[in-house]
Symmetry: D2
Subunit: 446 residues, 4 copies
């Protein structure tokens, strides 16, 4: 599970979007020329413009025209300009408490058939006007993608400008509505897919970087599967995608999986589907999770295609292990951590064999026992455990890439998804912090 989602297209597609929206926005009249950084004189003009947008009636055509102009103006701004633009929205177009209080009173006073209307009216007043401004974009071509990317920018900006946090929270709400799971389509991605889409996989893959088109082709070969969720308003943009290898037995080494020279797996013999990479593709959808749905839907699809599959499991990184180990006060942890600093230690067979047992035990402790409040400390463990997976196996020298060695001493872990058990597992983990694990993992804890 990639914790660092992919890139936004705001800048790459800027020229294209500006052209499309320029055509929609009718530019014969009331155009606004803004400074890239939004000058002090620009600010009241933008404010008036927003006000006009909210007051206007005039139907769809007018609304689209206005939204297109607004969007085009935004795209021409630089970082400072965008921050200022968004701050106007955040600060000047928040909810009006007096209006809300009045709606509360009306609701309280309502009776009978009026009650539901009064409740809905109160609910409506809880949408701040700035949300109304944002909602306009959803009707533009690629407007939903624009909002997703705008949230990615807000997530970046809000660190420096706390006043933007509330705007970000409102936009997140809007996006949660738009990205309702019932609207998403699961699609398989193959070497037959458009190059334009495959190029995005290369850009967005966040777990095991795709090195080249040949690497990608290997990941889409006949013994592999790749699936993604798509939204109807963003047809060429994957939201999240998973890469699966069909293998025999639990895969215990990711370099083997990614080896372009490895022979094809005989599908008759494949009994295991390994989910070796899950990447969120949209920074602007951070915190709006689809990974849980994705894995379970893909398990269903694979069961239909391959009746001889016996197990479904991930081959996952352990991103926080080495940092955690370093922070452990006990002597053994410190000694182990020191040994890992020796360059190429893992190629030293004797040393590696000596370390395997101890580090595997430490990893099991880390994964099962280390906590951040009630949840597992390791974010990937938390993700799969809350989905209801079982922690199945710790694999030694499973990822000997620089990154793999650095974050987890080359170890990886399999989480196994058994559809019949996931709900119970999930509930036990969420309610009682209980970690469902195999006997092998339990043995490492003794």
């Amino acid at each position: 599970m990639a914790l660092q989602p992919g890139g936004t297209f705001l800048d790459r597609t800027l020229q294209h979007l500006r052209k499309v929206w320029h055509r929609i926005g009718d530019h014969r009249e009331n155009d606004i020329e803004l400074q890239p950084g939004l000058s002090d004189e620009d600010i009241p003009r933008v404010h008036d413009w927003f006000t006009a947008c909210l007051q206007a009636d005039g139907g769809e055509v007018a609304a689209r025209t206005r939204a297109a102009k607004l969007g085009e103006a935004y795209l021409q701004l630089d970082d400072q300009g965008r921050k200022r633009f968004l701050l106007i929205m955040a600060e000047q177009f928040d909810c009006d408490d007096a209006v809300i209080e009045s709606a509360i009173e009306q609701w309280r006073a309502s009776e009978g058939s009026e009650r539901v209307k009064a409740r809905q009216a109160l609910q409506y007043q809880l949408y701040p006007p700035r949300l109304q401004l944002l909602k306009q974009f959803t009707e533009l071509p690629e407007g939903v993608k624009f909002l997703v990317d705008m949230r990615a920018e807000l997530l970046r900006f809000r660190k420096e400008e706390p006043a933007l946090a509330a705007l970000e929270a409102d936009l997140k709400r809007l996006l949660i509505h738009w990205f309702d799971i019932g609207l998403l389509r699961l699609e398989q991605i193959t070497w037959h897919s458009p190059a334009e889409l495959l190029e995005k996989l290369i850009a967005y893959e966040a777990v095991h970087a795709i090195q080249s088109w040949e690497d990608l082709k290997n990941r889409l070969d006949s013994d592999r599967r790749c699936f993604a969720f798509f939204h109807p308003n963003m047809p060429g943009e994957p939201l999240i995608f998973v890469e699966v290898a069909l293998v025999n037995g639990l895969a215990d080494n990711v370099q083997k999986l990614l080896d372009e020279q490895a022979p094809l797996q005989d599908l008759q013999q494949a009994d295991t589907a390994i989910f070796y990479s899950i990447s969120n593709a949209q920074q602007g959808l951070a915190g709006i999770s689809f990974g849980n749905f994705l894995i379970k839907r893909v398990v269903g699809v694979l069961q239909q295609e391959f009746s001889n599959l016996q197990q479904f499991a991930t081959l996952s990184p352990i991103p926080g292990f080495c940092r955690w180990l370093d922070a452990q006060p006990d002597a053994m942890s410190q000694q182990l951590h020191a040994q890992l600093t020796e360059p190429g230690w893992w190629k030293n067979v004797a040393l590696s064999e000596q370390l395997e047992q101890d580090l595997s035990k430490k990893a099991a402790q880390y994964l099962v026992l280390a906590r951040k409040g009630a949840r597992a400390f390791d974010p990937v463990a938390h993700f799969h455990l809350s989905n209801g997976a079982e922690m199945a196996q710790i694999n030694w020298l499973a990822d000997c890439s620089e990154k793999g060695l650095k974050q987890s001493a080359g170890m990886m872990v399999n989480y196994r998804y058994q559809l019949a058990d996931v709900e119970q597992n999930s509930q036990n983990y969420l309610d009682q912090s209980e970690v469902r694990r195999s006997a092998a993992i339990s043995a490492l804890l003794e």
Copy 2:
């Protein structure tokens, strides 16, 4: 504009949906057998079931299973059973005022970065649990269509069971979210479209009934266009559709337009697009209007395809005219109305010529001056005027079908859409009840 939208598919597709959902709902355990009319013993069981649905965690798979069972159970009920089923939802799963009051207090007490969260939490509490129950269906195959049809039933039931009105209002809210115009796709329908879709046009056409497949084919010929809106979760179901004839000059007779023997219009000579029928296809979306968007989008599409089109207008019925005339106290109105009772009066050339002038004047008065509050009394006039159309021409002997003679003495009216003016017209009508009309209509009023 059809005021009586088409049929629901609840019953026709019942067998199909029950089969699909039966497969999703895993029936090894906790199945509920209900009496078709929902017996008194069934009621507490259904209540417990709803409660369990709301409490359960367990992720998507479990939620789909539960929703599928619920839906399957509902489909097996008869009218009485459905009413009782919905009443449990409406009465036992409404909002909890105490919870809302508590959320109000927390919002009032919140400060700084907590404020937006508290506002969103309050907003969340304003969704009654019954809405949560309904929302589950959106993730089922054809679940959105199921909810649309359920609302059609609620609209029918609420007359007898006022307690269902609030549930209906909540469901309407949910559907407004789902049927956001940004999600809808405009598609052309042709003789190349699937028969399964065309069959629905025949069923749903509400203005000028489609007599046969040959009649339909004629309406999809090369000098005609037909467009509909579709939702991504209801791919084969039109939401609303419009039928257009490409002609030379304003069409003044609908029988001519529908005449299967009439020669094809030479498209080089066509300067006018006539929208001669707009039908809402989903009873369950009553009051959620797309007609305005549809007409304007279609105007845009036609302008692109045919650069020589000069005007876009409807040929519309005047549904309330004769009733209105009958209710007028003046002697002339009474006399005119009496003359219309003579069978076949319109085939009597002398009589028809004598009546034309007076009735046209009366129709102009009715359309322009008759009011229901601030809006035009005639519902079709109100629809087009609020969209920003201009009332262009009253046509004598324009619809000599039984229905046309009965409701408007055979008269019809053209509403003209000029994109450059629609916003201003619309605002003037909505703000000041101003009816934009041609000089010809004005002359009839003098």
Copy 3:
């Protein structure tokens, strides 16, 4: 198996094709205006035009232009004009024997590597120039369909104009090349198919006429299948299609199969696929058979979709039985034939029971023993036997339509296709006139 294939579209699409071709044919120069009936002055002009076509170089663009003009001119002619037009082609643009003889001599004289070229050159000379004229049309849009329909006309004309027979034979050769089975695509037709295509099924069905769109919908229901062959250059035109019912046991009555009120077959219980109608859709492809391929391919497709299908059989008419019976000299035949003239005899249970045994025996004799040369006298029997089917069962009162009673006293026969045996059966029938039959049929012969 329909022996009377469907209609041509020459006249229906005339206007459309003339328009398309008119645009291709550049009309600024050397246009030819012909009399509809081709006047005596027109004839030398057409002749010169043909000559010019054959001499011209100039590449594709020019060839398309010329062919489009030629085609447009042809479409404007009436029957007499077309006959004259085709006669010029047939009589004036036949092979030149001297040229062929010279090619023969060159081939005889050739040696070594020249021999293959000389052989190919001779072969080339055996294509008459008129075939060259026809071949030009294949590059026009819908040109292949044009040639297919032209052959349908030639088949009609050649009775009155024997001189056209050779032209027809050449065109048939050309079409055999174009309609190579390797190019044809098998496609399923459903209620989801374009109405434009379904309309053609209604027009082309030649065995059991399709009464209405409802009748058609019933034939495409979930317990039915319909498949057709298509050619890449005639994408919307079925060449031949078959209608299949999935049933339990050998179907013995066609009215039951076609009953729109009959309940759906439970597909879990279906063990038999009944091919109850096969229709050639193109008169112009008469004698170029695809039926054999179609049945076997469809058997393969159905085996994949329904693993529980045990047998594949037709329910076929016996078109020549009553005529044959009438021509039999023996007293019993004469008596039986006489009894069939009584109106409604088949509703008379006693009479029907009395006749069943004798007529079934006669039908078995007719089907198995009656010969036209070495082949079965009954054309449908010949078709299925040469495909390798087994004659399985004679069904009493199986088709009580007027046509069914008239041609075969209401009897029908099942031919069973067992893929493992069809080749051997076919060879035995073709080589030794051996009719593969069930024990039940053999028993009737004793």
Copy 4:
């Protein structure tokens, strides 16, 4: 125009095809195990097998089974084995002269309506049995591609085995039939096309090699177009493709066109379409030309999309120039050729300026006057002149790649296609060797 067409897929797809065909060929009986190099004992077995294929009846299913086995056997052979396999076909299954002579006699003796049959029968006898063996493959999945690749092998083998030349000639005939221009579809290729297809462009591009996926993406950008011909039986395989740049004025430098960093052309300003690369993609279709059709069709498509395009021209290599120059006896030619051997001469501005005039004149002489029989000596010139193009402009330092410098001292030439003139130009060139050229080219000849 690439003279060295792309690669075959025989070996790359070998494993795939063998698997597919293995499934079709039913392997329970009469399987043939052959040595990879075809042993002496294998040869009579293969011969018998061929004979059995030709004698068998048994319909399509049997034919497909046999062809699949034959094809699978062939794919398992090594080069020597394939040669022997093909030699059996070539030598043992040629035409039987006695049979042909007999058919000639029957034709001579035929009269009336028998004459056309006798002619067709003779024609049929001129197809050697080996062609019948090959034709079987067309009904297999990917069988047409198999035959195309087999011809590529024959073209390679026939140099060493002249006996294969006749077989190659027969196969060419068969392929000409199959690749009739009327069957080919013109399709645009974009960055949206399947990666699997784009990968083939990279492999097949024969004029200016595609360096990377980024290079390819640049060639498919919004100011570029790429079109290819496809055959219905080889849907993912381009037959020939052309790359087009939309520019302002005649492009005179190919490196500029291929520069990935160059800014996008403003399409409003583009008045010229430059065909800068045409590649045949199938070695096995060598000598079966589609280039002529392709260019003219693409001109038509571009004219429709961009109404402001004024001219259509190539930017073409002059492949034979330097070799020709070296072979010229005159002192000036020798001196010029010598100067070109100095490394980096073209970066020496003074030297380059000194050479430009003389070498341009020599290039004009070479292109216009140098002959191979009646045709232009330069193969690219011959291709475009026979298509009817005009030689428009010689460009100095237009291709400074190693290849460009080596073959033509960096010069390139534009051929201009003016649809109104191409037929006349083509005829003049083919009939009278007349080279249509611009005034600028003529000036260089003075």
